[in-house]
């Protein structure tokens, strides 16, 4: 492949601005079938990656701000990680009312991730601030 590129180059006037363009065209022309194969492979890889992304859902998230959980109710599937981020300037925590999960106190900017392993409806609170409530709804994997 490279030798035909070199040939294409040497057949041109060295000072011409079209040298590289013509050489490139020659290269593509000669190696078109190989180029098409590479493009097809890349497209296939890209599609596989996208498809993989679709079947394995990305993590879900809850923001802790204004002394509340946003969104107040989040639905995920079993095995899908949930991340809580404390965006308030003081600590909060995430504590399941039934004792199923519990973060330690999260400082301002603190992050906590939990991956539910069972389906169900899980209300939770921040034990530091009465009235601060959220619900995690976990559906079975399809």
């Amino acid at each position: 492949m490279l030798s035909s590129f070199a040939d294409a180059l040497t057949h041109q006037r060295p000072s011409s601005p079209f040298v590289t363009l013509t050489a490139l065209r020659t290269l593509i022309g000669v190696q078109r079938h190989r180029l098409l194969l590479i493009v097809a492979l890349l497209a296939a890889c890209g599609s596989l990656a996208w498809a993989a992304g679709q079947t394995r859902p990305r993590g879900a998230s809850v923001a802790i701000e204004g002394t509340s959980f946003v969104p107040p109710e989040l639905t995920v599937t079993v095995g899908q990680a949930v991340t809580w981020t404390n965006k308030d300037p003081f600590p909060h925590n995430v504590s399941s009312s039934a004792g199923k999960f519990s973060s330690k106190n999260l400082e301002a900017g603190g992050v906590w991730t939990f991956t539910p392993r069972t389906a169900g409806r899980f209300p939770y609170v921040c034990t530091l601030h009465p009235g601060m409530k959220g619900t995690l709804v976990v559906k079975k994997e399809k």
Binding site: E65, G66, T67, S68, D88, P89, F90, P91, A108, L128, H129, P130, G131, M132
Partner: protein, 172 residues
């Protein structure tokens, strides 16, 4: 211009200037917010050290943490905005009431301290919420300052609720 017009103009000016005098500007609001937080931080520190009930001490400690966090956020914002907190009558009155509360609490011990501290926390947080709703939020002109006040309001509601729950359990 007849005399009636003059009287009307004076009346409007009086009402208008009274309203103006009562409505704080952003610099004054900043001073009120910082003072209000500091008053509760000071009381919280005293409860942490002098409180006798474990929940009262823990509440005091949380007041220090929460109000310090809010103060830092408020101070960072006004610094960023180039607003210098401006002392005013409301801030001074909060400070002097806060000082009087500290003096009174220092003279108390045990359950009497706990009950007095918590009773004051209930009244104080109610007062701060009223000020937020009637004066501070409506009069904040900078959008970021207003947003900060709106965002911290639920924390004070939670503090008030917590203080009321404590008050009930201490009364048992």
């Amino acid at each position: 211009m007849n005399i009636r017009t003059v009287w009307i103009a004076l009346a409007v000016l009086c009402v208008g200037s009274t309203a103006w005098a009562q409505a704080p500007n952003d610099a004054q609001i900043a001073a009120i917010v910082v003072t209000a937080n500091q008053v509760d931080i000071d009381a919280g520190r005293l409860a942490e050290s002098n409180g006798s009930n474990a929940q009262v001490k823990a509440f005091g400690k949380q007041m220090v943490t929460d109000h310090s966090g809010v103060n830092k956020q408020a101070t960072d914002l006004v610094t960023k905005l180039g607003v210098k907190p401006e002392d005013n009558a409301t801030a001074r009155s909060l400070k002097s009431a806060g000082d009087a509360n500290i003096t009174k609490l220092k003279s108390l011990k045990g359950a009497a301290f706990d009950q007095a501290y918590v009773a004051n926390e209930v009244a104080y947080h109610q007062q701060v919420l009223d000020a937020l709703d009637k004066t501070l939020i409506p009069n904040a002109s900078n959008a970021d300052l207003k947003a900060l006040l709106v965002k911290v309001r639920p924390a004070f509601v939670a503090h008030l609720e917590h203080a009321k729950q404590l008050q009930t359990s201490l009364a048992k």
